[in-house]
Symmetry: C2
Subunit: 380 residues, 2 copies
């Protein structure tokens, strides 16, 4: 076997996997992960010392965790990722996702890797600056339901803007349907928001959804910006994480990115396999440029627990070298009567997303005003 | 509320969800799915008859299934998908993926929807024609391990070609790493395969992996084709399903597509949530243009059961209007000594993918010849 002339730096990143089974099984499975996530090749057939030394993952230690599981700390050479998001996700969990009883719990990424990623262009502090809100929670309303015409959605956007919300995002299901196409809808809604902002001195930012096809997403984002949109809603579970990164990195756009969790649930719903809440709704979206990350808040209509929400907060905020923090954006069951509890739980450091409930009872404008009024108590 | 001038066709597609819980819970959860996958909006607040009638999903019936679960048959208006793959996946399972106890079991798609998709350009019959193999299994070898140089991989590709394999795919982990970049590797390997084909009268097809960034995938595919590659390996779990569809649809490429399951495991590993094997490794890749679909064969190093493999075969082969069938491509533990059993199980209608085991014992060329020799018995 020829030797490989490439020189490895020795820099590695670490991944903690939670593995089911007894200690002997956990040890065998950890060794299997090292191989599966890199060379996918019988370790006994490797003739190259360079590959054995640098390319195969390395188990550093295995410790007993809760529930009779084990935590394996494994490292990989930064070079196996090609310093590229798609291959990084592959090394993290590509083939091992097909095996039961393995959960990716956490990752530690060295500077030499992180510096290849821009991460969130704005991050929490940039978003605060953009909105002129120095502290306390931010407000996000949602344009829905699917099936409404562009004019109806624009009317709703006007009402939310008058009510004083900070962000108005589209439902991620507003794609490019015949009842309200992307090109028809976005300019009308953007204009409605811009007009109210000008007339009422409000500062609402409109974030249209970026639907497929994936090869049209960049053009659509530029179209949206030219039409007056102030940010983008992106669903990496549907479109892939890499296109979110590309949108975030595009200097000619420079738009804040809000990440939606559609189709990402299968990673987190299983207790003993998948990827942790803190990674899938925190660290990974940040690496892929999300300034705000939507997730299902505890006590809502989804399944998130308080502890899982805390993991997400940590994933959004933890130190990651040059990578800015992102705003946790709890939704999926936010209500006006929960705002105080939420402001407390998130310590004011969140974007509160209220959807259908802003259209209940009084007018959307009145509800938004009430939403804003409650929030203002936490902004001072 | 203004009425929506758009007219719905009345055409709907059906999805069967397996839902955990007792009957009352299953009924409530089925109604929640109808709303969650479309309007994401309190049904009692919907004022538009058109939205209530056409846009919200409809429960057709709920029947008791195995293991105390229930099967809910739900339909959606074709228009809510915008006739577009990304939004179709969203309607299928976007938000509901975040809820435990829900599994997408099967789908029935009307012609009016299917005809918007090309599906596999070759399909099983086209692949057979391309390879000149009228019946019996096809053979695929894999270029690995990661860490080898372009020259080393080309040498291996030559050996496989001499041995008479039909396809030579790259490991999906061969991305664009410094030890073997995409642009350096692909032309060298393609030339090696072409040269042996010319000298030995073999007919091997080289399928390089298409790594990210996602916006460079199309250019890379064209580069690969110009360099002499005869097909592409694509990982929709890493890159998104839509880019696979775009590659398959590209007339200037017209390359066979082999789908890799990396990072798709979280959909199937949980017994009581996610998406069924038949959909994620059959129907959905076909809709997205895959001619061959790799999955983990039963009895290998992954977790697939015989029954799950049968579901995948059905998903790859079932009638889907204008959408061609795809070749099941079992891997992840294929061995020479299992080929006979596999030929029987798959009734000769599969591409057998053998990875590292072709580099065990004798030379890769000798192993490939032996692989081919065994297979030839099933080709006559």
């Amino acid at each position: 076997m020829m030797s490989n002339p490439f020189k490895y730096s020795g820099d590695r990143f670490r991944v903690t996997y939670e593995i089911r089974g007894d200690r002997a099984q956990a040890e065998a499975r950890a060794q299997a992960i090292c191989v599966e996530q890199t060379i996918e090749f019988p370790a006994d057939l490797v003739r190259s010392e360079v590959i054995a030394e640098h390319v195969i993952g390395k188990v550093h230690d295995i410790s007993e965790a809760a529930d009779g599981a084990f935590e394996a700390h494994i490292s990989y050479a930064v070079e196996v990722t090609g310093f590229e998001l798609v291959q990084f996700l592959n090394v993290l969990f590509g083939n091992s996702s097909l095996k039961p009883g393995i959960k990716v719990k956490s990752i530690a990424l060295p500077e030499v890797f992180l510096e290849k990623f821009r991460g969130p262009r704005y991050g929490k502090s940039g978003i605060r600056e953009l909105l002129g809100v120095q502290h306390g929670p931010l407000l996000c309303a949602a344009l829905k339901p699917m099936g409404r015409s562009a004019a109806e959605l624009a009317q709703l956007a006007s009402a939310y803007t008058q009510g004083g919300v900070d962000f108005i995002k589209e439902d991620h299901g507003l794609a490019d349907q015949p009842f309200s196409t992307f090109e028809e809808r976005v300019p009308v809604i953007a204009e409605a928001v811009t007009t109210v902002n000008a007339n009422y001195g409000t500062n609402a930012v409109y974030l249209p959804n970026t639907p497929g096809p994936v090869t049209e997403v960049l053009d659509r984002a530029h179209f949206a910006k030219e039409a007056g949109a102030g940010g983008l809603l992106v669903s990496p579970g549907l479109l892939g994480f890499d296109i979110m990164r590309i949108l975030a990195d595009e200097d000619d756009l420079a738009l804040p990115i809000m990440c939606h969790p559609a189709l990402l649930g299968s990673f987190t719903v299983g207790k003993d396999h998948g990827i942790s809440h803190g990674l899938i709704h925190g660290v990974i979206p940040r690496l892929a440029g999300a300034d705000m990350v939507i997730f299902a808040v505890y006590g809502g209509r989804f399944s998130c627990s308080k502890q899982e929400c805390e993991e997400i907060i940590r994933g959004c905020e933890r130190e990651m070298g040059n990578i800015r923090s992102a705003f946790p954006t709890p939704g999926g069951g936010m209500r006006l009567d929960r705002v105080e509890e939420m402001a407390d739980f998130f310590n004011g450091e969140a974007v509160f997303l209220i959807g259908g409930n802003l259209q209940r009872g009084k007018s959307p404008a009145a509800n938004s005003s009430r939403f804003r009024e409650i929030i203002d108590r936490f902004r001072n």
